[in-house]
Amino acid sequence: MSEYSVIGKRVHRVDGPEKVTGSAKYTFDLVLPSMLYGKVLRSPHPHAKILKIDTRKAKRLVGVKAVVTGKDTLGRKQGIWRRFPELCDEEILCREKVRYIGDPVAAVAAIDEDTAEEALDLIDVEYEPLPAVFDPLEAIKEDAPQVHDGVELNININRHIEWGDVDEAFKKCDHIREDQFKCSSQAHVCMETHDAVVSYDYGGKMTVWTSTQSSYYIQRLMADMTGLREGDIRVIKPPTGGGFGSKFELDSAQFCAAILSMKLCKPVKIVLSREEEFTATKRRTPMYYFLKLGAKKDGTLLAKEARVITEGGAYTAMGATALYLTGFFSSFPYKYPNYRYDGYRVYTNTAVTSAMRGFGAPQSTFVGESQLDMMAEDLGIDPIEIRRKNGMTPNYEVPGQAFIQSCGLHQCLDKIEEHVKERGKLPPNHGIGVSAYGFMSGGIFNWFDTPYAFSAAVVRINIDGKVDLFTGACDIGQGSDTTLSMICAEELGVRLEDIRIHAADTGICPPDLGAWGSRETLMNGNAVKMAAADCKRQLLEFAAAKMAPNIVYDFEIKDRWVHLVDRPERGVSYFDIVKGAIRGKDGNAIMGRGHYTPHRKGMISPAYSFGVQAAEVAVDTETGRYKLLNVTTAHESGTVINPVGIEGQLEGAIMMAGGYGFCEDQPMDEGKILNPSIADYKLIRSLDMPETDILEIDTYEPEGPFGAKEAGEGLTNPTAGAIGNAVYKAVGVRINDLPITPEKVLKALKEKEKKKK
């Protein structure tokens, strides 16, 4: 009976029935008695002083209940890098200055959305426009406008990573390449826009229902900004319509609804419009990348140097983390003996850039994998071979940075090599490009300054054997509720239907960092497993006392059967043991606690996933248009807990990461995003979606629950690079700035023709 009875099985998601019947209630759907509707007034200027805000006319409009500005706040600045006060730079409701088009200046609560909207037009804001700066390469110049006073050269934060002796190593290289790249921005486009219902009552307690990736972060940041005690704020995450990195910071919907509700002691709901979602929430960090790569003739990579300047936008947000991670993952997934990274995040008067699925690594993987293919070609080495020669292996230490335990990169390379060979000779203008990648299973950093364990769980077993699982993990669609329920059921030896999960409600769940950095399967999984094991131990104590076997036997529970491991037929029903055990504890329900915080696991993450992807494209040389025909991924994420979940993560990542390579972009003019609607923001729809094949590789991660590690964000890393390499293979043009649009391909083809002549 050693085989797993729950994990690895194809199951329905625990939230499935409510989601396919439309009965799941999102924040977007919530209506409370006497609830008011809020709207936010935003700056039309990229950079301006606020001279005066006159709200009198708006307040007089029939149906308007309150109008608030920065003067109604405590005047504090917040940010998610709480350990560093200078990086907490966002007021949310600006008092003196606006720094991007979309920066909030006032908010209204009214009896309905139409009235609130009408009231916005009646607020008079007198601005003094200031010179603005939009490009980080301009903003970093001596005479550039200052986005934040006292910040030298607009440098928000810089990061340095180094090991080995890079300069010496370059001297020993047979071949060195220096290349420049530009990585574009990308919008998260969650189907549910940012929204919140906030109810502050006369007793001084606040309840927040919101679409979020971290209930705990919102609770803590809300406490910082309102002066309320953490325990007086309860944040509840209903089903959430996507996150992708956009929903773990305190946002204008949450904060403005809170300030309005505190004025009125009535619930206030704010839902951002799709246009606000595009222009006034965070987005993927655009990056200028300067890469130098040195190799021996045989393809051994000796040294790499990466210099990066990122467009920060107006505030810090999670962009500081993206700056660090793009630097670390620029070395991935290869064994560089010498490596140096210098990254600068620069403030600009543009919408704030921050985290988005992959968190800096899709950028570094695109540029790194593009350059590696160029290096391979220069040296006359096969792209797979150069990756094999330098690829990470199990138990490898990234010097001074990280320790990699499980790593299936080489098996992934073998599988993709087979796949490419099987495709054989391709038709003209078709090409297959490969890209290798790795990613972390949650970050070790604690710039948020949480005093709590990174993850925690409580498991309670009721008299009828039903199990309540309490966790702060946030299911934003990726399926953590299901994965964690499966881990709980497996560890406890019951069935999936025996578990009822209660997640991401700070009133009843332990604090938890939430869903970001691909952390939940490993970190929450370990906490849940520990809590379930705690309960199991208590049940087995009772079972041992009741069955009184020879002391040499030990017990296990599988599929609701409490039994001797060596004599599985000798056992008792789980339900009988639960009843007895509760009686034996004076009637207390069985409770188990678990937690997880990585210790002694290096500086980045306790575990890493790896993979290799091959994208096949067909280019029309007349128009530059190309079709994504097939994307095949060999991926390893340790033990697969939830196979349906992994397939979904993989295929979904290809839609998003393929879009990053293929079409998604946010062009701007003087800080104004030009395509703030789904009609104008091009993303991959069903007709453009390639075939997606998955080649699973078996690995086992000792640090993860049952050997599991991340399978979410890492999958967003390879696709843009694979597409770029495929276009090159197909028609011999290399595009170094994302996205790889037909216009750029056509232009490059024409230039190539010219050169021939």
Partner: protein, 159 residues
């Protein structure tokens, strides 16, 4: 100012009063509390608000509620028969054809309308049938597999 609107939604007749500017999606969600239908863009671009109007897939943010006067509408709430899920709903569960679930109502209504009109669509026709609907989570292919399974007769209609 408000005008009378008569609708039959999921077999239930309704008689309500709405402003002339009220969109059908607003009438369904805000007046009838049928919140299963979502709203993702308000510009007929995302498909989250897709419903069936007289048997056809329609984006309910693209028409005024009063334009639907007298119509027969089916929303996501009307797909199951009692507690028995429709074949497509069952197939979506089995194939993991949803993640965050916010596009799911629109996807199910678009594919239900597709199969009503064309019970044996090809893969290309299925792709065309959902091209107006954005899913940011799944990458569409699991949705296409679910619809294909229904087309192949792997799921029986509830009686």
């Amino acid at each position: 100012m408000k005008k009378e609107l008569k609708l039959k939604v999921n077999g239930q007749p309704y008689d309500i009063f709405v402003k002339p500017k009220t969109l059908l999606v607003e009438a369904l969600r805000d007046h009838l509390a049928l919140t299963g239908t979502k709203r993702g863009c308000n510009s007929s671009s995302c498909g989250a608000c897709t419903i069936m109007l007289n048997g056809m897939a329609v984006k309910s943010c693209s028409i005024l509620a009063l334009q639907a006067n007298g119509a027969e509408i089916v929303t996501i709430e009307g797909l199951a028969k009692g507690t028995e899920l429709s074949p497509l709903q069952k197939a979506f569960l089995d194939h993991g054809s949803y993640q965050c679930g916010f596009c799911t109502a629109g996807m199910l209504m678009a594919t239900t309308a597709l199969l009503t009109e064309n019970p044996k669509p090809t893969k290309q026709e299925i792709k065309e049938g959902i091209d107006g609907n954005i899913c940011r989570c799944t990458g569409y292919n699991s949705i296409i597999r679910a619809v294909t399974a229904v087309v192949k007769g792997e799921y029986k209609e509830a009686k």
